[in-house]
C-alpha cells in the first residue's frame, strides 16, 4: 500500500532527503508552514497552485527547493525584491518569502525595511537560528551578545538586532514571533499571516545544534531543544519592550503577536490608484 503523508503533495519528494542536520528546527518551521497553507487551501482562501515561495541562500532558504509550489531560489539577501516583482505581475498569488536571519535581516536587511515600509503583500517567514548556518556558524546580526561563533572566537561584542522592534516602527500589518519548540503557536501565527493583506512577518526562533548549539554548550540537539523550550515565554500580546533576545539564562525569549492591523496594503493602494 502506498501510504503518503497528507502534506507530501506540497513537497517535491523526489528531492528528499533534505540537507538539514538532525535536530535542526527548520523542518518544524517548514512543516508548520505547510500545515498552515493546507488549512488556508481547505478554506478556499487560495488554491495549492496559487502559492509561490521565494528564498535567497542559506539552510532555511533551501526550503524552496523542496516545496511543490511555483518557487524561486534566488541569491543571498534578494528574495524580497524578487518576490515583490513576482507579486506585482501575479497579484493573485500568495507569495511567501522564507529565509534565514542572515538572508533576511543582514545582507537583505535593507530590502526588508522598504518592503515593510510599503506594506507589500508578502508573507515573510524568517527562521532565526541566530547564526549563519549554511556557511558554518559565523556571527550574524541576530547573534546575542557574548556568544562564541567562528568569527567571534572570544565572544560576540556587538549588539544584536531586534527585528520585531525594527519592523514595528514600520507599521507592518502583522508581526509575530514564534518558536519551533511551540509548533502549535507557530502554525497559528503562520496561518494568521497567510490570511493578511500587506506585509505579514513571522520570526521563528529555531535551534541550530550543529553550528550554534554546540558553541553555547549544548552539543546534544535534544538538550538544546529543551534549553530553547525552557527560555520561551508565550504572551498573547507582548509589549515590544520585551522583545529583545539576549539568551541570558535568567532572561526569557518572548513569543507572541506584537502587531496585528489592517493598513491599506501596497497592492490595494495600486489598485485604488487605478494603475
Amino acid at each position: 500500500m502506498d501510504v503518503r503523508h497528507p502534506l507530501d503533495r506540497y513537497l517535491r519528494t523526489d528531492r528528499l532527503p533534505h540537507i538539514w542536520c538532525p535536530g535542526c528546527g527548520i523542518g518544524i518551521a517548514v512543516s508548520s508552514l505547510l500545515r498552515a497553507i493546507d488549512r488556508r487551501v481547505a478554506e478556499g482562501l487560495f488554491t495549492h497552485d496559487e502559492v509561490a515561495a521565494v528564498s535567497g541562500i542559506g539552510c532555511t532558504a533551501r526550503a524552496t527547493f523542496y516545496l511543490n509550489f511555483d518557487s524561486a531560489h534566488v541569491i543571498h539577501g534578494r528574495a524580497i525584491p524578487f518576490a515583490i516583482g513576482l507579486k506585482l505581475v501575479r497579484p493573485n498569488l500568495k507569495v511567501i518569502v522564507i529565509g534565514g536571519d542572515g538572508d533576511i535581516a543582514a545582507i537583505g536587511g535593507n530590502h526588508l525595511l522598504h518592503a515593510a515600509r510599503r506594506n507589500v503583500d508578502l508573507t515573510v517567514v524568517m527562521v532565526n537560528n541566530m547564526i549563519y548556518g549554511m556557511t558554518g556558524g559565523q556571527v550574524a546580526p541576530t547573534t546575542p551578545p557574548n556568544v562564541y561563533t567562528t568569527t567571534t572566537p572570544s565572544g560576540n561584542y556587538e549588539y544584536a538586532i531586534n527585528i520585531v522592534k525594527l519592523l514595528s516602527a514600520l507599521n507592518v500589518n502583522y508581526l509575530a514571533r514564534a518558536s519551533v519548540t511551540h509548533p502549535h503557536i507557530l502554525e497559528r501565527y503562520l496561518y494568521t499571516a497567510l490570511g493578511k493583506e500587506g506585509l505579514a512577518f513571522v520570526e521563528v526562533i529555531s535551534p541550530c545544534p550543529e553550528v550554534f548549539g554546540r558553541h553555547i554548550g549544548y552539543r546534544d540537539p535534544v538538550e538544546l531543544f529543551k534549553k530553547f523550550k525552557s527560555m520561551i515565554k508565550y504572551e498573547e500580546r507582548p509589549s515590544l519592550d520585551k522583545s529583545d533576545i539576549t539568551l541570558n539564562l535568567d532572561k526569557e525569549v518572548v513569543i507572541g503577536e506584537f502587531v496585528n492591523s489592517s493598513r491599506e496594503s501596497f497592492i490595494k493602494i495600486i489598485d485604488r490608484l487605478g494603475r
Binding site: I57, H73, I75, H76, G77, A106, I107, G109, Y132, M134, T135, G136, Q138, V139, P141, T150, T151, T152, P153, S154, E158
Partner: protein, 410 residues
C-alpha cells in the same frame, strides 16, 4: 644548499592566505563569509581574538559593506584586507571601480567560485575574470605556497608609491583553498621587515602649494570622490591606465626582492614557463589546473615530445610583452580558459593572448580550450588529448574549431 628560513606548516590555501595576512602588519580586516572563502575569515578572526595580530576585524553584513569598510580604512591610511568568492565579488562590483579610481591599495583574496545561476560552490574563474576591467591588479596562484607568497607580495605592490592600486589574489576554490599542503612559512620578523608598514603616498595639492599624504588623516583636509565630467574624467582614467602599466616592473622587482629573502620564485613574477623553450606546442593556463597540465606535460616530455606549459601569474596587468617573447617561434598554442564569455569569440585569456600574438611575423595557430566550468574536473587524460590535438595541428591538420569546450555534455 641554503638552510630553509622559517618553518613548514601543513596548511590549506585559505589558511596560507590568512597566515600571510597575519604576518603582514595589516590594520583593518573586513569580510563577510561565503563558501569557499570562509576559512580565511575564520582564521583571521581567531588571530585577532587571540591577540596574534593587532588588527581590527569588522564583521559586516555584506560584501558590499566589507569592501566599503576597507576603502574607508585605506583612505584613512590603514593597510586593509578582505576576502570573498563568487556572488560576494559580484556584490562588490560597484566598489571595485571606486577602489581603483580612488587609488586605494586594498588587498583582497578571491577564492574563485562559479557564479549563479545555477547555484554552484565549486571553482571556475568567471567571478574574477569578469572583474578584469575594474582597474585591480590580478594574480592567479597555482598552490597554497604561492597563495602565501603572493599575498605578502601583494601588499608591497599595492602600496608602492608609483602604483597605489588594489590587488586581487585569486586562488581556486577547493582545489587550493581546501587542500592541505606543506607550506614554507617565513619568520614573522622577516615578513614584517619585507612588507613594512603602510606609508601613504604623497599627493601635490595645488591650493596648498605643497605635497601632503593622500589620506584622510585629520591633519590636512583633502577631499576624496570628486566629480569629473567630460572635462576631466578621461584624464583620471588615463592616470589609472598609466599606473597599471607600471605594475609589471614593480611586480618583477617585488618578486625578486622576495626571492632574496625566501628563496622562492615563480618565473619572473609575471609568467611561469615550463618546458616552453624549443617546444612545438604550448598550453597556456592560469591557476591550480596548471599543476595537472604540468604533470601531463612532464610525461610527454619524457616520451620525447616537445611540449610546454606557460602559466600566467598575472592577468592584470596582462604580461603581453613577456608572453610574446617566450611564445614567438612556437607553432601551436592551446589556451585554457576557466571562464566562459557567452557570445564572445572564445574566452578572455584566449582573446587577449591571441591578440598579443597578432603582431608576430609568423603567427601561431591558437586554439581555445574552455574547461573546469562550475568545478568540472580536468582529468590528465583530457589534457593529454588536448596535447595530441595540438600536435596534430602542428603537423598541418586544420582545427575544425578554434574554440572548444572540453568535458561538457551537449
Amino acid at each position: 644548499m641554503r638552510a630553509l628560513l622559517g618553518s613548514v606548516k601543513a596548511l590549506n590555501g585559505a589558511e596560507a592566505v590568512a597566515y600571510a595576512v597575519k604576518q603582514s602588519n595589516v590594520d583593518v580586516i573586513s569580510a563577510y563569509p561565503i563558501t569557499p572563502q570562509t576559512i580565511i575569515v575564520e582564521r583571521l578572526s581567531e588571530f585577532v581574538a587571540n591577540g596574534e595580530i593587532h588588527a581590527e576585524y569588522v564583521n559586516v553584513e555584506s560584501e558590499h559593506s566589507a569592501l566599503s569598510t576597507c576603502m574607508g580604512a585605506a583612505a584613512a591610511g590603514a593597510r586593509t584586507f578582505t576576502a570573498t568568492s563568487s556572488q560576494g565579488l559580484a556584490l562588490m562590483w560597484e566598489l571595485l571601480y571606486v577602489t581603483s579610481g580612488l587609488r586605494l591599495p586594498v588587498v583582497m583574496a578571491v577564492v574563485n567560485r562559479a557564479l549563479s545561476a545555477p547555484i554552484n560552490i565549486h571553482c571556475d574563474h568567471s567571478d574574477s575574470i569578469g572583474a578584469r576591467d575594474s582597474g585591480w591588479i590580478q594574480f592567479y596562484v597555482e598552490n597554497s605556497q604561492e597563495a602565501y607568497d603572493t599575498v605578502i607580495q601583494a601588499f608591497k605592490i599595492a602600496e608602492h608609491s608609483d602604483i597605489q592600486l588594489p590587488v586581487m589574489v585569486n586562488l581556486d576554490g577547493f582545489h587550493i583553498s581546501h587542500t592541505l599542503e606543506n607550506v614554507n612559512i617565513l619568520p614573522d620578523q622577516v615578513v614584517s621587515d619585507f612588507v613594512g608598514f603602510r606609508k601613504p603616498a604623497n599627493v601635490r595639492v595645488e591650493y596648498l602649494g605643497r605635497e601632503v599624504p593622500a589620506v584622510l588623516d585629520g591633519v590636512t583636509p583633502i577631499s576624496l570622490g570628486i566629480i569629473a565630467l567630460s572635462d576631466y574624467y578621461y584624464e583620471f582614467k588615463m592616470m589609472l591606465v598609466d599606473a597599471i602599466d607600471k605594475v609589471k616592473s614593480v611586480i618583477k622587482e617585488v618578486h625578486n626582492d622576495y626571492l632574496k629573502v625566501s628563496w622562492r620564485g615563480y618565473g619572473d613574477g609575471l609568467i611561469d614557463p615550463y618546458g616552453v623553450d624549443g617546444a612545438d606546442i604550448v598550453l597556456v593556463i592560469m591557476g591550480s589546473a596548471a599543476g595537472t597540465v604540468k604533470y601531463v606535460v612532464k610525461k610527454l616530455l619524457e616520451s620525447g615530445l616537445r611540449v610546454g606549459v606557460l602559466r600566467l601569474r598575472t592577468f592584470r596587468p596582462f604580461p603581453y610583452e613577456e608572453v610574446v617573447k617566450v611564445l614567438s617561434g612556437v607553432k601551436v598554442i592551446g589556451v585554457m580558459d576557466r571562464a566562459t564569455s557567452p557570445g564572445a569569440y572564445g574566452a578572455p585569456l584566449f582573446n587577449e593572448l591571441r591578440s598579443a600574438l597578432y603582431d608576430l611575423d609568423s603567427r601561431p595557430t591558437v586554439v581555445n580550450f574552455i574547461y573546469g566550468i562550475g568545478g568540472r574536473d580536468l582529468e590528465p587524460l583530457t589534457v593529454k588529448r588536448i596535447c595530441e590535438k595540438l600536435l596534430e595541428f602542428g603537423r598541418g591538420v586544420k582545427p575544425a574549431s578554434y574554440v572548444e569546450y572540453v568535458g561538457v555534455r551537449r
